[in-house]
């Protein structure tokens, strides 16, 4: 999966959680939680969706890797290389 595709995947999952989410002014290197209406339960939703869609088992110690859109892409790129 390309970096752009992973980027779109994350945004798509967030949109599933909150269809009112506004991505227009989203800065990819800033924490998602500071910019969108997301809390810890929403992040668990992201983890679950990645598990359901791509059979990814993300260990709890890696959850901080999902803090920003950029860090999500960086973290997921090798895991989704064959996706």
């Amino acid at each position: 999966m390309t970096r752009d595709a992973i980027n779109d995947l994350i945004l798509e999952i967030i949109e599933d959680i909150d269809e009112d989410a506004d991505f227009d002014s989203l800065e990819a290197d800033k924490p998602l939680r500071d910019q969108l209406d997301l809390d810890s339960m929403d992040f668990l939703d992201i983890v679950m969706e990645l598990r359901k869609r791509h059979k990814l088992q993300i260990p709890e110690e890696d959850y901080p890797e999902l803090a920003t859109l950029d860090s999500c892409v960086n973290y997921l790129e090798p895991l989704l290389a064959d996706a």
Binding site: I17, D18, E19, D20, D37, M41, L44, D45, M48, R51, K52, Q57
Partner: protein, 412 residues
């Protein structure tokens, strides 16, 4: 404050019924006998008549919150906000830690659990796919808690489980806590999301107690010889309860005063009702209200449309009201189905406007009246106009032998 003499009044009503999302519309449809029971298709179970509520789900909170929470929470948040608006009461009028939420539930968590088991069935029953939302959605205080989060209420919130007597039980809890001085305002009532559970339909069917008819609007037929069971409905109704002096001080409009109540147990059977205890419950409520049977103008029955349940309640009413020529008897479930934990409060709410319009809404779907249900002044198929309506008694009974009676009186 004299606890027993403290008078508690209803000053606001918020509701979602299978045919209305506010009291005025609800009343109009009850008077017209307009049922909007429909047919739904349930996972595993198939088609069944059911009452589904249509209301503006995102009027008071975002779709995201509705998605995270439960259907019961969604219904509750809507009704709580509507009740406050109806009471013309700002949430800041009372200290937020002196406001409570009491929600009567027949059951809760069944829908969410069934959905989650179905979800993991798609993943070979691997529990890694079980949602982290399961516990906060299924704790029994979920619907009441969702209301407190939405409104910023910091007083107590909890659920009262009393099968289909739960709505009345919560109303009674509200009265008691206001009288004790534990809180200054209570949002009290009941909520049901049971239509989302195939298991509830399947269980009633296994009991031979699920109502049916080619026309779903005629599936619930209390007191009719052809009745064959319950129509499961979702619904919710929450009241704003205040002490009379507080309500008068802020110039509130008062729907009614709760003047009597009672609850008791059959201590006898898991599902079969018992007329003796039902009669005792009505007698106790009348005694506490300082009223005689003949003082009750409208008796709103619990009757669900099961063979034995309706007969048993009529026997109980005959014992207590046999000599009353002034009490008129009706049934709301014939129009809206059985909203379970919300049933008692929703049905009482639908009758409150009788204090103003003096009409008794009818029991519908009665074409072949069951003589075993014979009682004087049953209001069937068409509304009845009375000269005055000053008192209403609501019966609500539930499985495992739980009975509740609430009596309300018009404010003079």
């Amino acid at each position: 404050m004299n606890i027993h003499n403290t008078r508690i009044v209803i000053t606001g009503v918020g509701l979602a019924a299978p045919n209305a999302d506010n009291l005025a519309e609800f009343r109009a449809k009850l008077l017209a006998g307009t049922s909007e029971i429909t047919e739904i298709d349930l996972r595993y179970f198939g088609k069944a008549p059911a009452g589904i509520c249509t209301f503006p789900e995102t009027k008071y909170r975002k779709k995201k919150e509705n998605k995270r929470g439960t259907r019961a929470g969604c219904l509750g948040v809507y009704c709580a906000n509507e009740a406050l608006a109806d009471a013309n009461l700002s949430i800041d009028h009372y200290d937020r830690d002196r406001i409570s939420v009491y929600v009567g539930l027949t059951e809760h968590g069944t829908v969410e659990t069934e959905n989650e088991v179905y979800n993991i069935s798609q993943y070979d029953y691997n529990v890694d796919y079980w949602t982290h939302h399961h516990n906060p959605r299924t704790v029994l205080n979920n619907p009441a808690g969702e209301i407190t989060m939405n409104l910023g209420i910091t007083g107590p919130h909890y659920a009262i489980g009393a099968a289909c007597a739960a709505g009345n039980a919560s109303l009674i809890q509200g009265v008691q806590m206001l009288r004790l001085g534990e809180v200054d305002m209570a949002l009290a009532g009941g909520i049901s999301e049971s239509t989302g559970s195939f298991g509830i339909f399947a269980s009633f069917q296994a009991q031979g107690a699920l109502g049916s008819h080619d026309d779903p609007r005629k599936a619930c037929r209390p007191f009719d010889l052809s009745r064959d069971g319950i129509v499961v409905s979702e619904g919710a109704c929450l009241y704003v309860l205040e002490r009379l002096e507080d309500a008068l001080e802020r110039g509130a409009e008062i729907y009614a005063e709760i003047v009597g109540y009672a609850m008791n147990s059959d201590a006898r059977d898991f599902v079969l009702p018992y007329d003796k205890r039902q009669a005792e419950c009505m007698e106790l409520a009348l005694e506490r209200a300082g009223l005689q049977a003949g003082d009750i103008d409208i008796l709103n029955t619990h009757a669900t449309g099961t063979k034995q349940g309706d007969i048993e309640e009529c026997k109980a009413i005959r014992k207590v009201f046999g000599s009353s020529t002034t009490t008129h008897i009706n049934n709301t479930k014939s129009i809206i189905g059985h909203a379970m934990g919300a049933a008692g409060v929703l049905e009482l709410a639908g009758n409150l406007p009788a204090f103003t319009d003096k009409l008794v809404h009818p029991t519908i779907n009665v074409t072949d009246f069951d003589p075993e249900c014979e009682l004087p002044n049953m209001v069937l198929n068409d509304p009845v106009q009375l000269d005055s309506v000053d008192t209403i008694l609501n019966n609500s009974f539930g499985m495992v032998g739980i009975n509740s009676v609430v009596i309300v009186k018009k404010m003079s």
